[in-house]
């Protein structure tokens, strides 16, 4: 479980996050949604420690992550997997080397064990036999799937996903969403996803936080979102005629 308490983040004069608190439970897809510039990615980066919050606490299973130094964070970081918006695969390494990299760094597994683990992770994301390809030889959807395979290589307790559907066609987006959902359920991972894709929100949003101007403006599930009377959330979720029509049918 991850708990964030009263998170503030300021860049110079610009206050991006203003007192956000939430609890992210294991086995659930926790979605952070909001318009561009609402602070979604900044909040995610504060949670994983890429940005230090100006104020507030991030607690991983009762351990205060915010107060730890780099060395103290390493054991928690070994339990974290993250899929970046642009996948962030190491370009100089093959698909297999990308997946094996954290295993090389932090485990004493033999070469064959590491290869088996890489094969398992690739099979899990339906990319069998792509071990020797380089990231430049992969499509956007394949890169995302390799990113997921790398993220699950260390059997993480926490999975963070930044804009998993950006730049992908709707069909591939659904495949990625289903994959994240399956992994979350199967391994009881605490998954936090930053997105503004409405298909993801409606499809896998077990727990949703809506950010507006750096504040938490709404919290609930995908079942509740269609019936909310929160004006900002309605303006965001049902912005297009298509989603408005879908809402009227609900």
């Amino acid at each position: 479980m991850i708990e964030i308490k009263d998170i503030y983040k300021t860049f110079g004069e610009n206050e991006v996050l203003r007192g956000i608190s939430a609890v992210f439970e294991p086995g659930k897809n926790n979605l952070i949604i909001g318009g561009s510039g609402s602070g979604k990615t900044t909040l995610l980066k504060c949670i994983v420690g890429l940005h230090e919050p100006t104020k507030g606490q991030v607690i991983f299973n009762n351990e205060n992550f915010t107060e730890m130094d780099f060395e103290q964070r390493v054991p928690i970081r070994k339990q974290i997997g993250m899929l970046f918006q642009n996948s962030a695969l190491f370009d100089s390494m093959t698909v297999e080397e990308n997946i094996i990299f954290p295993l090389n760094m932090f485990t004493d597994m033999s070469v064959s064990e590491k290869r088996d683990r890489a094969d398992f992770c690739l099979e899990r994301v339906n990319l069998k036999d792509k071990n020797s390809l380089y990231p430049s030889e992969l499509s956007g959807g394949m890169k995302k799937r390799v990113g997921i395979a790398r993220a699950i290589a260390m059997e993480p307790k926490y999975l963070f996903v930044d804009e998993p559907n950006s730049g992908l066609d709707p069909k591939t987006s659904i495949v990625i969403d289903e994959l994240i959902n399956e992994l979350t359920q199967e391994y009881k991972i605490t998954t936090v996803i930053v997105t503004h894709d409405m298909n993801s929100v409606m499809g896998i949003g077990d727990h949703i936080i809506f950010l507006h101007q750096g504040k938490k403006a709404w919290e609930g599930s995908n079942k509740e979102i269609a019936h909310t009377d929160n004006q900002e959330l309605n303006d965001f979720v049902f912005a297009s005629k298509f989603t408005q029509a879908a809402k009227e049918k609900l």
Binding site: V48, G49, L50, F70, R73, V74, P75, R77, K78, I80, M82, F84, Q85, N86, A88, L89, F90, D91, F101, P102, N104, M105, F106, M154, F160
Partner: protein, 243 residues
């Protein structure tokens, strides 16, 4: 300026923290040594031979007095190449070749979130990315400078054979006469310091890149410019301290 210096020193401190796994860092050092050393031999060979030849011809041209023995041309060319041209010119060229590559490689990793990915995994990114490059440069630049000195002296000999301004026998006598081993020590100390400056300054520029492709290019340019300026400054310092 002081905040930049402070950030540079802090980055170096982080770079030389105890590695997570020594074998992985060792492999990285070896890979970087091949990239810096073998990859730079071509350009170093070309500039060394030409500079050695040009220096010998120019020294011979200036020694027009019949009272000065012609072999002096060999001695002056030798000391100029050992003390100044081989370490300094080679390092300036290496700053362009190796330094820009280091800054753009690390800068690209920064803007494509690859460094963030390392940090999320719990890997000490400066240690993994920067320390092997600094160690490789500090080991390989002195070797390249020795290689450069040998080729520069060979270039001088070729110039003597081709132009006849100084006879090859006089040149070789000049190269042998009055050789002081301390000149080699000075050249090696310079090369060691220059190797450190090239790798650390360019890595710093790359590591703190923010933005996109344009900023990566700017970081590479700044890395090369700053390391060239610092090489010239360090050249003066080492020369004045050791000679």
């Amino acid at each position: 300026m002081f905040s930049t210096l402070g950030r540079y020193i802090l980055l170096l401190r982080l770079s030389f923290k105890r590695p997570e796994k020594f074998s992985i860092y060792w492999n990285e050092v070896m890979r970087e040594m091949v990239s810096v050393g073998i990859g730079s031999m071509g350009i170093i060979s070309i500039i060394s031979v030409f500079i050695g030849a040009a220096t010998t011809i120019q020294v011979a041209f200036q020694l027009s007095s019949p009272l000065v023995p012609r072999s002096i041309a060999g001695s002056i060319a030798r000391d100029s190449n050992i003390l100044e041209f081989s370490p300094t010119i080679s390092s300036l060229v290496l700053a362009g070749r190796v330094g820009s590559s280091i800054a753009s490689q690390i800068g690209t990793m920064r803007v494509t979130e690859q460094i963030d990915a390392l940090e999320i995994m719990g890997v000490n990114a400066p240690g993994y990315l920067i320390a092997p490059k600094i160690i490789a440069c500090m080991l390989m630049v002195p070797l390249l400078v020795i290689f450069s000195i040998a080729l520069a002296l060979t270039g001088g000999y070729i110039a003597c054979v081709v132009t006849g301004d100084v006879s090859p026998a006089d040149y070789l006598m000049g190269v042998h006469d009055g050789f002081m081993p301390i000149t080699i020590q000075v050249a090696l100390v310079k090369a060691f310091v220059f190797g450190f400056l090239i790798a650390s300054i360019c890595a710093y520029q790359g590591f703190y890149t923010s933005g996109g492709a344009l900023e990566v290019g700017q970081s590479a340019t700044q890395g090369v410019v700053y390391s060239c300026v610092m090489i010239l400054f360090a050249d003066l310092m080492v020369t004045s301290i050791m000679l």
